[in-house]
Amino acid sequence: MASIYPATTQPDARQSAGLLSSIRRNMPLSVGLGILWLVAMVLVAIFADRIRPYGITQMDLTSRLSPPGMLKHLLGTDELGRDVLSRLIQSIRLSLVIAFGATLLSAVFGTALGFAAAQFRGFVEHLVLALADFQAALPFLIISLAVLAFFGSSMVLLVCLMGFYGWERYARIARGLAISAGAQGYAASVVQLGATPARVYLRHILPNVASTLIVSMTLTFPEIILMESGLSFLGLGVQPPATSLGNMVGFGREYLTRAPWIMLAPATVIMFTTLSISLVGDWLRDRLDPTVR
């Protein structure tokens, strides 16, 4: 019957044998690979301008649609002879920047609303919950389609729109956690000491609930990448001449039969990136999040 109670409920008391070896012992191989891939992606995004062999709009009309594997163009070229590798590197940067910005926006926005609901209760709380219901009632893709197509697509609008993705989860989590934190002694005691609500929430409650929120961020991040690439794929996200992973897949689709590598390269990157974040996020959740189990 011992197997019924998962071992994870036991606190790790024997973690004293050095940080590195404990990481090696506790981290599955898949998570390690995931972290490596993510680090590589971030480095690519940061140094995109340095490592890109060609400009993203630089055409080489003599070698159009050349297959991957050539020394001149490692991942081949597209229909205008633009280097797929260079465009891929630039796309990784743009997609990561959008997803990162949007994740931060939605975390801040959602957490703030959740705290506000917990602080004021009553009408504010009902309003926030009604907004969250509204967000959950319409699939995000449909909302984005309506907004983007009617206002036209621009980078700022895209990031802001993506920044609304998943805010309702942070709001619900933050509200729940803040309410239960309010019932615990530490929050009440700093209120008694005369701290302002802002101070109580930012300095005392936020650090205590941060791990759960960070885990939600790792869950939202890949979904935002998928959402952005989906919109770009449909031609409503990132607009040319800028290039993102989804928009490369979208344009590569037309050359699916003759030059599948145009589409396969960004598709592979999307897959590995979202896969890595999911693996790492799951692992983090199991370690950090006190609300599961």
Partner: protein, 308 residues
């Protein structure tokens, strides 16, 4: 119980109202439909006449009231493009979309839940790891990549299945497969974690300690308790039966709601977009409501006023 139902119904109604307002605000504030429909070279008096005939010359709040009134009387407006009633245009497309989404939903349920439950009952086994890996893969592959890869394999390379259109049932295979992959992964993962959580509860230990057969413990005690979180996800999937196929329809040129939405959005066909938004939100809200009520039935603890 009555109070529980009333609160849920009220919230559903408020949500629908919010969606209606959102549709109105976004679509009306974003530009002048008259100029978009008629083009830039049309003389001013034609534009004025167009605005008048569509009621666009009235103040915004009068337009809003008129809009609410017409929706409550079942009038969703007329498509500015086809001059046909918007509701009719949208409803015509519903069967095509359901042809894809309903079989996909059935596939998701038939594969996802058993796989997750099996994995949970054989934790840490080879099968468990396999299910987790496939499940994560399933929902991290974007549907447009999945669709294109399937086309590449089955249409381009093997040449056994058509890559687009709606002529025969063969045309439906690839889109249905594409759509179900992600959902299978999500359901498998949710069922797995729900089952694992339930299997750790004291009542399961009690049930097996009092000598019940393992099968009775699983079917009689564990599964009903694991059903609540699974029902949430299934409810969400049922709610997105109508709207869940936008990307897939666009890949496979399937003439459903999703394609209609994209076309109407790029033509700024206000009435049709509004109608789709409302129908999509309506199905979602109704299925969420159904899930909420189902919870109350599945789990009596949630019925008590203290929990909400």
């Amino acid at each position: 119980m009555i109070r529980f139902v009333l609160v849920r119904v009220m919230r559903a109604v408020i949500t629908i109202l919010a969606v209606m307002t959102f549709a109105f605000v976004v679509l009306r504030m974003s530009g002048d439909p008259a100029e978009v429909m008629l083009g830039p070279d049309v003389p001013q008096n034609v534009i004025e006449a167009f605005r008048k005939s569509w009621g666009l010359d009235q103040p915004l709040w009068i337009q809003y009231l008129a809009y609410l009134k017409s929706i409550f009387t079942g009038d969703f407006g007329v498509s500015m493009r086809d001059k046909a009633p918007a509701l009719q245009l949208v409803l015509e497309r519903v069967p095509a979309t359901l042809q894809l989404t309903v079989p996909a939903l059935i596939l998701k349920l038939l594969i996802g839940i058993p796989a997750g439950v099996y994995a949970a009952l054989h934790r840490q086994s080879f099968a468990d790891r396999g299910v987790i890996l496939l499940a994560i893969l399933g929902f991290t592959i974007p549907s447009f990549v999945m669709g294109l890869v399937l086309v590449l394999i089955f249409s381009v390379t093997l040449g056994v299945l058509p890559s687009g259109g709606q002529e025969t049932w063969l045309h439906g295979i690839l889109p249905t497969l594409t759509m179900s992959v992600g959902g299978v992964g999500i359901l498998a993962r949710f069922s797995r974690s729900a089952m694992i959580e339930v299997m750790g509860q004291p009542y399961i230990r009690t049930a097996s300690a009092k000598g019940l057969k393992w099968r009775d413990v699983v079917w009689g005690h564990a599964l009903p308790n694991a059903a609540v979180p699974i029902v949430t996800i299934v409810g969400f999937m049922v709610g997105s039966l109508i709207a869940g196929a936008v990307v897939v329809e666009s890949i496979f040129s399937w003439p459903g709601i999703g394609r209609l939405l994209i076309v109407s959005v790029s033509n700024r066909d206000l009435a049709v977009v509004q109608c789709i938004l409302l129908i999509v939100a309506g199905t979602m809200v109704v299925s969420n409501l159904a899930v909420d009520l189902l919870y109350g039935w599945l789990d009596p603890r949630l019925r008590s006023p203290a929990s909400h």
